[in-house]
Symmetry: C2
Subunit: 580 residues, 2 copies
Amino acid sequence: MSEKVLIIGGVAAGPKAGCRIKRLNPDMEVTMVDQDNLISYGGCGIPYYVSGDVSDESELRSTSFHMLRDEFFFEFAKGIKTLTSTRALSIDRKNKKVEVQNVNTGEKQELAYDKLLLATGSQPFVLPIPGVDLDGVFTISDLHKAIEIKDRVAKGKVGKVVVIGGGAIGIEMAEAFADLWGLETSIVEFMPQILPRIVNWSMATILTKHLRDSGVDIYLGEGAVEILGEDGKVTGVKTSKRTLEADLVVMAAGVRPRTQIAKDAGLHVSHMGAIVVNERMQTNDPSIFAAGDCVEIKHCVTGKRFFAPLGSLANKEGRVAGDNICGIPSIFEGGVGSFIMKGFDMCIGATGISLDVAKAEGFDADVSLTSPADRAHFFPTQAIACFELVFDKRTRKVLGFQGVGPNNDSISARIDAAAALLMQGATVEDFSNMEMAYAPPYSSAIDSINAAAYVAENICDGRLRKIDIDEFYAWIEKPETHPDWVVLDVRHPKQTEPFVEKFGADFWLTMPYEQLRERWAELPTEKMMVIFCNAGSRSYEMQRILDHNGRTNNIVMAGGFNVVKRIGGDWLPAVFGGDE
Amino acid sequence: MSEKVLIIGGVAAGPKAGCRIKRLNPDMEVTMVDQDNLISYGGCGIPYYVSGDVSDESELRSTSFHMLRDEFFFEFAKGIKTLTSTRALSIDRKNKKVEVQNVNTGEKQELAYDKLLLATGSQPFVLPIPGVDLDGVFTISDLHKAIEIKDRVAKGKVGKVVVIGGGAIGIEMAEAFADLWGLETSIVEFMPQILPRIVNWSMATILTKHLRDSGVDIYLGEGAVEILGEDGKVTGVKTSKRTLEADLVVMAAGVRPRTQIAKDAGLHVSHMGAIVVNERMQTNDPSIFAAGDCVEIKHCVTGKRFFAPLGSLANKEGRVAGDNICGIPSIFEGGVGSFIMKGFDMCIGATGISLDVAKAEGFDADVSLTSPADRAHFFPTQAIACFELVFDKRTRKVLGFQGVGPNNDSISARIDAAAALLMQGATVEDFSNMEMAYAPPYSSAIDSINAAAYVAENICDGRLRKIDIDEFYAWIEKPETHPDWVVLDVRHPKQTEPFVEKFGADFWLTMPYEQLRERWAELPTEKMMVIFCNAGSRSYEMQRILDHNGRTNNIVMAGGFNVVKRIGGDWLPAVFGGDE
């Protein structure tokens, strides 16, 4: 008798496991059920379908060789019996059966299994506020919603959109509406920054400025308190501070694991609602496996379990589950939560944990902010990218790495290399010595990753004292709250001029970089000096010279003007120079 | 008394160490000498200067903030006494002195040191053939040569160029001549492929086709035996097979460490001529350090010492040398020889060791060849990239990773992530589980790195039997030498048609992928079947089905048609479909 494998869920982890099982052991009788009639789609592609970059939804559920991944494909090409529009109702663990129901006919049946895989995924979190049921309010829970959204937009029925939630999906959807369709689009984010807990303040704020410059309104630190409507149709969103008009509202306030069936069956489910599995993706019932958005996995930086609903991890988990169902003892070690995203002409990415999370986890966390060119600075296509390396000052372990820069693959390159190191528990020294392939069209001899680690080393060793950029902004935007300080700008006179004009020569001191070794004694001593250059590296060198001469009342403006100009602010002179 | 540090060599490792030392310990008295008057330049940028991408040579020796890195810059901004046009003649280790000579005036002097750093770099290997001294024959040994080459080209004095050597510099220079300047350009390479020992045959051959399609003539397996001239001026290059006309010849036959002064001083120098250093970049004389192209370092894959003249490593080595000169016990672990290069509209990169090298080193080496999309296959900017993962079948350790694809940063991203894993001694399973940041504009849910490792796992586990692409080419191009075989093409009938027409339905069998589970029994059994699809993945699945049904006389064409069409060949039908 061939063994029966039943898979609940047909989007990512489920199909991956099913196909792997059939390749490993074609004898196995694999059945896959999904409550939807559209399965095996690239959910991360939905914003690009809505935007029009992907013209038809069928592309999201086609193979690279243009075959539609529907139930017939799985049946004939993959040998997997596939029941769509079929909801799993309950698991009878004792008798190894699952009761399922056809959502169209209501017909029920029992499916027997020897091994069961739960790949039930996640579902959008719906805010507990009035109006969420109004016509025109959408979550991005499945392809049907995406199709309906695009349909409304394409038919010209939508003029104003409010996206609730400034996470990745919210931002990607906002771009889809604002860019090609030119809709008036706003993002409402409850937290004081977009991508909270994913990236640090400077990274998020650089992207925020770029999104605003690209036409998306962003309201931070104000949650949606009510969705307003008329005649059952949405008309706006009320936040804690204002009311925004809207014909369409996308609720992108995060997702939760879909695990009711697992809970009901008495399987271990964490306090976060995710199914608990071992490193073989096996639940507490040895016949039942789980993979994808419905499970929690180990975080390789913190060592704790976390919920990481990412398509990339779902596929890996599904493959490991498939292996173990076939008796191959593969292991899924865990993840580091690597994330990447396009936002108009920028790319933002992160791996590991953010500074906030690191502090909350009890690390002695600090951060290095750098702003190098994304390839050789003499190569014509070069552009500035900004990076933050999060590390533990005591153990020198790297905890996370983030970057924001132009929309090419250069951020991706650094995030992936950093993730590979993080998986191995790397230190700042490992990042310093990391060998990045170098050629001027692609990178610098001292790669961004190395440069970030050099700065981190200098911080750990107490050679570099800095002011972080959020603190600098607090100081300069609210002069009354900061201590007695002045700026020392070591950039070129052409660049410092508008600042001196605006702030006065008593506050915005200048001295060209190459003259400081000779002229440091001219600088005043009574006030703390914040040393300011383009990328932070000249400032550091100046600090070393000043320190060496007994002038230690100074700090380096981390990241420099390259970061400042990307964050912006009312305090900046109206006109200032370009990148360097 | 402040300690005296003397640095010989002012291009990469030398300046890096000098500046680091002055930041760590401004008290140190640092002197740097270089025989050239142009120092601290980005040598890897020379082809882009010659091509015109970089308009002025001064850009190659300027900081990101546009200051020229000349002797005055090092003197005033960096606090390093810098003697250009000053050749180091000999080291008096006993008295800790170096005799130097001004190459213009002939004046000699002795410079005392407490710590000495040798950063003497490398020099081009000049082939021992007649004619190398003719006017118009260049090596790329310094910036002056580059300036002269560009000058001749810009003045219209050059029509035909022969580049001797198909390594990275040779190819980059060939592109510089052929692309913007439109010169008639040939590459002559002694070995049977370009980039020998750096990348595998398929990678090299894909790039070769692209270079040829872009107008560069490439002659493989034929060395230059003589450089021809008239009236002292170069007129051509004679190879073992032909004579090529030329007004300009670039000899790019590799570089050798420049270490005569070290040898003369009795420092340990390897049989390859490179200075032997410990992991603190210290020679056998504890007061003398060495870094950059003149040393050999540990290869983190083989564990052996190797010569890796790369700007990226030179900087890292220089920094570690600087640390140790200042008493900070930093360590340079070694490298994996990461390499990346632009070739017209393609990018090629590699890290670790190639298949040839792996076999020569005694590994039980094999390779997985894959040809996935460089981002989500439904994303409009996607394009095919080809990858080879080199691994040891017995230990499952990954030995190298290579890729060739479109000219964006996607190859760089994979090479760098792979290098990070290689540094840690990763296995194919580590590559399978490597978490690559996923979003459709940048990557696939199953990243190229993961996919390559999946195939490697299947090979290691004996689930996938394949024919490597070079062997397939030998079979199909020389039918008389191969065993009795047929093709089974499982692609779409539209795609298989031109092949059936050319080779006949008896040799080029077809059966659509999705029908094989039903129709496998129709296939003949008497001949070995080479299963053929676009990327190799459907072929593998077909093999599993056939095997399961007792039909094991079959092998998968690794990499599939995506690779074949990029390699090309006379045996291909004149017209065939596009990528899938």
